[in-house]
Amino acid sequence: MSETLLQVRGLSKHFGGFIALDDISLDIKEGERIGLIGPNGSGKSTLVNCLSGALKHDSGSVRFDGNALDGMPAYQRTRLGLARSFQLPKPFRSLTVVQNLHVPLLFTAKHRAGAHLSTAQIDARCEELLHMVALDGKARVRPRDLTQIEMRKLELARAMAAAPKLLIADEAMAGLSHSEVDDILALLVKLNQSGVTVILIEHIMRAVMSFSDRLVCLVAGRKVADGTPREVVHNPDVERAYLGE
């Protein structure tokens, strides 16, 4: 389990004169649980968008599972096994919950298995995914009738439907209650144990600390710390970023 899955070298991104990411390098090994932290506006979401292909980075390189991702459109990255969930849930609003899962199943399965899934296989996989996130009874409901945590779960289930090797969960727990956070955490741990590498972007320190094997901290577009959670939270740069001088 020590193969490098994601390799980021010298990644930079700017918006006009604003430097959002400055020379980020990062290695993530297969099976790791990475927590990505940083104050608001530090570039966490920009990094996620550059990795997943929603934004094009300006310089540097990203390699994933032996493939160079530079310039590759987002949908191909998903098909290679790099899935993400969105900070603000983006369900397909006109489709039911189960149809939301059909989309990634239909559009990534051929790439993965080399063949179309049969209707029965798709139904079985949907049932499995819905069971995993405890949305069993909600299959035929439309997203607008879901609660906030159910929406987050749908977001994760849809990302998992693409059968990713790496899951980037962008603030999957923001705005949830204490027990709901535990719910999502347990889910992410379960996914990780099934072999999925997880990058968790989160503000809730309790969640990040209990989840991560390793913490990476961004401040103002730079990586200021990378190490075990204990090391990182005691890093003077990180303390300064969060607490001030």
């Binding site: 987002a74 998903t78 369900p91 006109s94 990634p104 239909l106 035929r140």
Partner: protein, 316 residues
């Protein structure tokens, strides 16, 4: 219902409707009126593939429609092939223009895309207006053959052709709706970023959608010169085509193939009736009034009136 079953059923309906019309309708005027309604079924269904399924509002229907019509004018002057060939050529040509329009404008969203499509229609109209071979702004007379193949009377033949085309477009729309492509288009409509993240090649799907939608519009326009026998840019590029092909899916409902069909029959028939009984200039006023009415009373169209009941039955 399986797609193949549905296609067979559509073919059966086409045959039955035509047989009934031949037996029951003695006044040829009704064939002329019916042709227009059928033409709007094709246009509304075509518009809905891009507008309803994919979420891109096209104001350029008249442009695609006229491309089909003027392709027929050119072919008629060169060679005079049978109408099915004209439909094929018109469809391919308008489909290619649709593809080109997609490449140029699909990076625009919302209202900007709509303006882009309107601009395209104006560009094509300006081109045709200045092209002397197809009559320019003077227009062109098409002398259609004295007798039609199969049926003898030309309007019966045109009616049959348009009826078959309407059946074809409805079957196509329904196949798309239930396919992987349909799920992909719905994902694009709801959220393009999320669609990409779910593995949907959004640009490719949008191009397929613009090409199919444009091709169907061109096919609807191909028999037009033989129907009107005199075609000029003002009538070929009439804004009424664009307005109606948007209004019909809106009134019928945009999420399924049933919507444009109901909307086109409903609005098309009312317009034809109003043209005869009240005044021909009342058409667009009626469209306006009905649109306002539907936006207020039934924002999800005619099919929306029936769907809430179905939904509550599922959840109960």
């Amino acid at each position: 219902m399986k797609n193949s079953t549905f296609c067979l059923l559509t073919a059966a309906v086409v045959i039955v409707v035509f047989a009934l019309a031949m037996v029951a309708v003695t006044n040829d005027y009704f064939f002329f009126a019916g042709y227009v309604v059928l033409q709007y079924i094709v246009l509304a269904t075509a518009w809905n593939i891009l507008g309803g399924y994919t979420g891109y509002i096209n104001f350029g229907t008249a442009g695609f429609f006229a491309i089909g019509a003027y392709a027929s004018v050119v072919l008629h002057k060169l060679w005079g092939p049978p109408i099915p060939v004209l439909i094929l050529v018109g469809g391919v040509l308008a489909g290619l223009v649709g593809l080109g329009m997609g490449v140029l404008t699909l990076r625009l969203r919302g209202v900007f895309f709509a303006i882009g499509t309107l601009a395209l229609a104006i560009v094509v109209q300006t081109f045709v207006t200045n092209w002397d071979y197809v009559g320019g702004s003077r227009g062109v007379y098409i002398i259609r053959p004295a007798t039609a193949p199969l049926l003898g009377t030309y309007i019966h033949y045109l009616f049959l052709v348009m009826l078959a085309l309407a059946g074809f477009s409805i079957a196509l729309a329904r196949c798309i709706e239930r396919s992987t492509l349909g799920f992909g288009l719905a994902a694009v409509r709801d959220d393009e970023q999320a669609a990409e993240a779910a593995g949907v090649p959004t640009l490719k799907l949008k191009l397929i959608s613009t090409a199919l939608s444009g091709a169907l519009m061109g096919m609807a326009g191909a028999p037009l010169p033989y129907y009107v026998t005199y075609l000029d840019p003002t009538s070929g590029f009439n804004l009424a085509y664009a307005v109606n092909s948007i209004a019909m899916p809106l009134i019928g409902g945009m999420t399924s193939w049933v919507g444009p069909l109901l909307g086109a029959i409903f609005l098309g028939t009312i317009q034809q009736a109003a043209t005869v009984t009240i005044s021909s200039s009342l058409n667009l006023l009626l469209v306006g009034v009905l649109l306002v009415l539907f936006v207020v009373v039934a924002p999800h169209g005619l099919i929306g009136l029936w769907q809430p009941r179905r939904r509550s039955r599922v959840s109960s």
